[in-house]
Amino acid sequence: MRRATFLLALPALLVLALFVVVLASFASVSLMVVDPGSAVFHGPPTLVNYGKLLVSEGAWRAVLTTLRLSSEITVLTVLFGYPLARVLARSHSRTLRRVILFCLVATFLSGGVTRAYAWLIILGNQGLINQGLRAVGLPRAALINNEFAVVVSVLNFVLPFFVLTLFSALRTIPETLEHAARNLGASRWRSFVTVTLPLSLPGLAAATSLCFALSLGAFLFPQMLGGGRVQVLATAIYDHIQASYDVPSAAALAVLFFLLVLLMLAVVGGIRRLVAVRFAGEAA
């Protein structure tokens, strides 16, 4: 029995081992030092790169910017994504549900780079919005090479992930529960707050965690639409390698990034448990 369990788990363990080996090998580079004026790095193992990171103002600024932007994007995703997931799960129009589902899947097929270029055309200094503003005699708005452009583009990227994850959770909640609440006199809003929202919390937490993790790791959109003025952790790691050829420092920053993601996911998990306990207490 134990042998059969091990054999069944073996493929998953191999995939997990692959991830661990890649991460561990890159993390081991963070314990090396780079020769000044070259890209060659070597041992013996040392924590000097972590020491440099702890006193680096740029690294902490990148950490804070990453956390702030990811939080903003996650809040906006929940605010705009929940209604879309709810309509997708609850609308009685089959055509509407199919159209929404098709549109969401279609966005996955377009790819990140092409969408980033599309945002350059929309938000750029000679883009659609600024040409529209100029046509009506208004001054040009700074919509690109700043945090606004990064938030808008990453929000656009993560919304389909959020909606599809939450949709699958909302579909499992029986609609009859909402009908029962409505029949007992609850308003549409009250039935949502007291019935649907508590039952959707596990799915909401999963979707929120996914979006937060995607926002934390976003590289392409901050790089292309931030114009080098928005330094997040992913772009900071890239700059360490491409501009400074300092792979050990980049690896140390990547380890810090990984620990940060684990910490934030633990915090989100803790909040989820607290909220679940609160709603369970109210139900009792």
């Binding site: 705009f80 994504g81 209604p83 879309l84 709810r86 309509v87 997708l88 609850r90 609308s91 009685h92 929404i100 549109c103 969401l104 279609a106 966005t107 377009s110 092409t114 969408r115 270029y117 599309a118 945002w119 350059l120 055309i121 929309i122 750029g124 000679q126 883009g127 659609l128 040409q131 656009n156 919304l159 389909p160 609609e175 909402e178 009908h179 409505r182 029949n183 006199g185 549409r188």
Partner: protein, 61 residues
């Protein structure tokens, strides 16, 4: 006893549906520009409705 009539056919309010459709429009917003840009005569990432071409497709094939 007071009877309450509930419209079960509309379990999502029109306001929520409108917000959802606006969000969907935002999600889809970049896609038409990808198509438009593929047919544009511009070499640069700027919006221009002047002149359409198939030259990029000809070069590719």
């Amino acid at each position: 006893m007071k009877r309450i009539a509930i419209d079960h056919a509309r379990s999502v309010s029109p306001a929520i549906t409108a917000l959802a459709l606006a969000t969907l429009a935002f999600v889809l917003l970049p896609l038409p520009f990808i198509v438009l840009y593929a047919l544009s005569m511009n070499n640069y990432t700027l919006f221009s409705a002047h002149g359409f071409t198939l030259q990029w497709f000809q070069r590719f094939f």
